[in-house]
Symmetry: C2
Subunit: 320 residues, 2 copies
């Protein structure tokens, strides 16, 4: 298939990035939500496969307490097993100071904090109040500055909370502003519940971009309501150029056939490729990694691109 | 969940319709591609259920030769079994003059023709050349005018052809212009292969709207590459306000689990509801019809909204 025969500029409603960075969160956010335990060497193979496919930024693990998330007990071993490669950003999630120290000791240069936009979600997910989480973020951001680490902060349920419903965007705008004032290098607005719509996404990214510039903002969408690609489009139209996605949709709820969680990386790369936006990722090599995920998960990846191009099917009758 | 706390006007990049009409194509385009035969009374039950849910426009059947499409052999019986309801548009596909006469005899007032944007697809699907199809369309449009029927024309593979690749939009623009000159009441640009991207969609609808106005154009998207919602969004941003969709995604290829064809009506209605665009359709009543489809198809509908709200699943661990 060639490129469409018109200028991309003609159809770029709103702002558009020339290039988009995709952080693959499969090895952490994905695997953490899968029912099986993946051996360390398999995790390393997955991560290096992603790098080979052109993924420049990977969330490789999380330095949480092994009792809380047994899947991530091998965090230090995973990091130790990664080849340093120029231009590649290995990134780990850290829940607190202890995690920060472990990540630092493991030699990581990029860490991520997480907190919530709503009080109830923060209590349920992190067992503390939003002000407590903000205080920890402030301290860790100061330490990271002096240690020379880059830090991003994920704001979960930035659009719709499972407990509190639609989140007031003014709250998220204020929280984002505070996090940048504390020294965050990037703030990621996360649609944890998959309930954000393109209108909410456009509004929140337009408002935060106007204040902080597009290059320090990221979007993390879930495909639960099939809105992830439309939300990515809406964010790109606001000039956002950094998105999380998960190889083979890792982390989709395994209990319901076809239910999806994280947006499959393949589909975001496909969207970008079709829109003429550079990602540096080779889609076919990426799908080879989806095959690898399929072998160890035993599940058909929810990625539409993967299914349309790698799963054999008899041609149906086509009329319109 | 309440409405987001900002004005929709603030985020309406491009044009936006206040109200969108959705034509459910499940009873025709959907069932035609399913492997089982649905009894006539079940088809009628399905159609009246859609009307009860607020769907104003339904593609109820196709007057094709029963040998070609046995599923549609009961076309006249289906039409005879429908209650006339004010404000409801029952619509049938007709492949040729013979089909036109059968539809007229059955008492239908709204008919649809189909032809392709590319020569190869037209030969494979309709066994004639594009000029031959255009000549038939011209004759039938003239007859329909004098018979007082409304006619829409579906242009299949308007974006990407399975045989010829990316379609030159100038060809589709010229074809659309000719069809309106012949007297078409509506032209529907169909992404038959599901390979259209939001850039192509924005371009083609912007160009055709500029020439003919948004109110005579319709979009028909497939979700094969998970682009249907983003494509619908892109078309709405160009002021398009008429979309095809299929209840419970009827017509998705049954051979590959999760592979999707027609965009599920539920998901388009959900997008519109979230974006504050009126459809007149009650989403929960619509999902009751999805349940009905599930019972006779024996398949879990591919609609994300249906799965997220009607399928029980254990809550997964949520962090970002």
């Amino acid at each position: 298939m060639g490129r469409p025969m018109f200028k991309r500029e003609d159809v770029r409603t709103g702002l558009w990035p020339e290039r988009v960075t995709i952080m693959d969160v499969g090895p952490r956010d994905g695997l953490q939500n899968e029912p099986y335990m993946l051996p360390t060497e398999q995790k390393i193979r997955l991560i290096s496969g992603l790098v080979d496919a052109g993924v420049k930024c990977i969330q490789v693990t999380s330095f949480v307490h092994p009792k809380v998330v047994p899947q991530m007990a091998d965090a230090a071993e995973v990091v130790a097993g990664l080849l340093p490669r120029s231009g590649i950003c290995y990134f780990a999630l850290i829940p607190n100071e202890k995690g920060y120290e472990r990540a630092l000791a493991a030699g990581l240069r990029h860490v991520g904090l997480v907190l919530s936009a709503t009080e109830t979600m923060n209590q349920k997910n992190l067992n503390m109040s939003v002000p407590q989480s903000m205080a920890i973020a402030k301290r860790l951001l100061q330490r990271a500055k002096s240690d020379g680490l880059t830090v991003r902060v994920d704001v979960s349920v930035a659009f719709v909370c499972a407990y509190e419903g639609v989140v007031d965007p003014q709250k998220v705008i204020a929280q984002t502003e505070e996090l940048f004032r504390f020294g965050a290098d990037q703030v990621c607005l996360c649609d944890t519940t998959g309930r954000a719509d393109p209108g909410q996404v456009a509004y929140l990214f337009a408002e935060t971009r106007r204040r902080h510039g597009g290059e320090r903002l990221a979007g993390h969408f879930h495909n639960t309501y099939d809105m992830a690609i439309a939300n990515t489009l809406a964010a790109m139209q606001q000039g956002i150029a950094f998105f999380d996605a998960s190889i083979a949709g890792l982390g989709g709820c395994p209990y319901s056939p076809g239910a999806t969680g994280n947006t499959p990386t393949e589909d975001v790369v496909y969207l970008c490729r079709q829109m003429g936006v550079e990602t540096g990722i080779d889609l076919e090599k990426l799908c080879d990694i989806s095959e690898l995920v399929r072998t160890f998960s035993g599940k058909l990846p929810p990625s539409a691109y993967y299914r349309a191009t790698r799963v054999k099917q008899t041609d149906g009758l086509v009329t319109t």
